[in-house]
């Protein structure tokens, strides 16, 4: 029971990390490097969009990604602890 719990914790963790890494790659290597010239045709204020993402926006996204990770991992940790507590309680009941 606890093994299954551990496995589902790990799988949710991996899924979260993969999603966040995709955003990480898309913003930095995608928008900041590969499509930067295309995005530069869009302007806001004194900035070209691609240039802004490369020198400012990407860094802000990185910070946001870490905080999203912290938020979901804290929730996941709590759920894991609750579940493993419940399953160990069940196990003791069954033993009785």
């Amino acid at each position: 029971m606890s093994d299954k719990n551990a496995q589902s914790y790990w799988e949710s963790n991996i899924k979260l990390v993969i999603k966040l890494m995709c955003v990480w790659f898309f913003i930095s290597f995608g928008c900041g490097i590969l499509f930067v010239d295309a995005l530069d045709t869009i302007r806001f204020g004194g900035f070209k969009l691609g240039f802004w993402i490369a020198q400012q926006g990407a860094i802000l996204v990185f910070v946001a990604l870490i905080y999203i990770y912290i938020y979901y991992m804290d929730k996941l940790d709590d759920r894991y602890k609750k579940d493993s507590l419940e399953s160990s309680n069940e196990a003791t009941k069954e033993a009785e």
């Binding site: 551990a6 914790y9 790990w10 963790n13 990390v17 966040l20 890494m21 990480w24 930095s28 290597f29 900041g32 490097i33 590969l34 930067v36 010239d37 530069d40 806001f44 204020g45 004194g46 900035f47 070209k48 240039f51 802004w52 490369a54 020198q55 400012q56 990407a58 860094i59 802000l60 990185f62 910070v63 990604l65 870490i66 905080y67 990770y69 912290i70 991992m73 804290d74 996941l76 940790d77 894991y80 602890k81």
Partner: protein, 562 residues
Amino acid sequence: MSVQIWTIIFVFLSFSLYIGIAIWSRAGSTKEFYIAGGGVHPLANGMATAADWMSAASFISMAGLISVLGRDGTFYLMGWTGGYVLLALLLAPYLRKFGKFTVPDFIGDRYYSKSARLIAVFCAITVSFVYVCGQMQGAGIVFSRFLEVDITTGVLIGMTIVFFYAVMGGMKGITYTQVAQYCVLIFAFMVPAIFISILMTGQVIPQVGFGSELTEAYGGGYLLDRLDNLSQELGFATYTEGQRSTQDVFFITAALMFGTAGLPHVIIRFFTVPNVRDARRSAGYALIFIAILYTTAPAVAAFARTNLINTVNNIEYSAVPEWFTQWETTSLITFDDKNNDGRIQFVGDPEANELNVNRDIIVLANPEIAGLPNWVVALVAAGALAAALSTAAGLLLVISTSVAHDFLKRSFMPTISEKQELLYARISIFCAVLIAGYFGINPPAYVAQVVAFAFGLAAASFFPAIVLGIFRKRMNKEGAIAGMITGFSFTALYIIYFRFINPTADNAENWLFGISPEGIGTVGTLLNFAVALTVAKYTPDPPKEVQEIVEEIRLPGEAIVR
């Protein structure tokens, strides 16, 4: 008051603070010496990590480099921050859960092998030494320019301070001095940036001023447009357009990211917090603290570039401002009146250009170029020293733990007592300070060039070994060792070939897939992954207890050891 007196005041005050903290936080045990007892608040650790990470290179050189490279400078900005996403998501929480003292500790235990541990020790020491020499040199430049002492005296003063708090306090002393140093350095970076932003664009926040219109006095129009126009007029590359090939920028960014995530002095900072949750949290704090400087730096770069062109281009040499002549005495600014008209021509064409400005002085000279008050100029000097010393201390600690803990205690003298180990740690940090100081005074000509080395090596050796150690249970010692050796040697040979053996061939035509030596670490990293996975496939699985450790570090809860 003159700049020099202000500098002496600021440097004296900040140094007294560091020494005070060192006395307050003496380390009594190896655990305190190596990881500050493991009880540092994540906020404090975030600040310490930021100071540890932001070296003389970030503080002094980066904005200057960007102001010359324009949009291509992006690889420093994204590379040196994006690595924190990798650290926070892939490494820090698990290494904290593992709960040891050093990176070689993890490699050695996870790959149940003394050879793996020794390879890791070798990589950690090489990477840290390369890096620390640059810091001592940075401190030397600041001392020589602002306090007008010679570089030797400057380095000696810096060494004494670092020696004092690193040897006495170990990680504990270093952590709390780094917190103070972060405050000093960020204040010193932001004050002139805000001043200049208000002066040039009327905006208080430099990140906003970066995209705003210039004030009347500076000729109006958007700052970046103006800079593009000025650059084109004078024959420099257009500021907001890239010059390097896309694949090269791509690979350099990736190498810096993987390198950031693999640098041992950054990784060990996450061992100092109480638990896994705090490790994640402190990675978040660290990146916020770093982002404050890293989003300001490109704005400073654009301000400084515009200002520099406006101030010096086509003016009479006899009428140059005072800062110009003062930097000339350090040979970091040189003027050669090629057409003998008595005016400075600062243009893109190397044949006609008469002015050479060392990129490293842009940040230091920026407040003077903008005509800010003397105390602001002096503040920058204190900030630059804080940046150089905090990073140097963190690196010296890695060297000392690698020698005393991994090399002596865990590999060759397992029977020594904790007291002896602590003594060896202090002796090795002492020797490391001396060696670093020597290279600070007699810098090998190639210091700036071997920085690529530090990142490339960290990326190609540690990053894959640690990631595979966590995410691939079946990764065994054969795979990890083969991977580390392949990644390390490939990267090292590529850089050595193009930088030392055949520097004339160091251009895009001869590079492998057009990737410069700065970016080759990415290829090294990929090779490491590929070799490790292939070798592991055909060699026996790791022992059962190691696989259990891997399962254990993936789950939340208390650290495995201690």
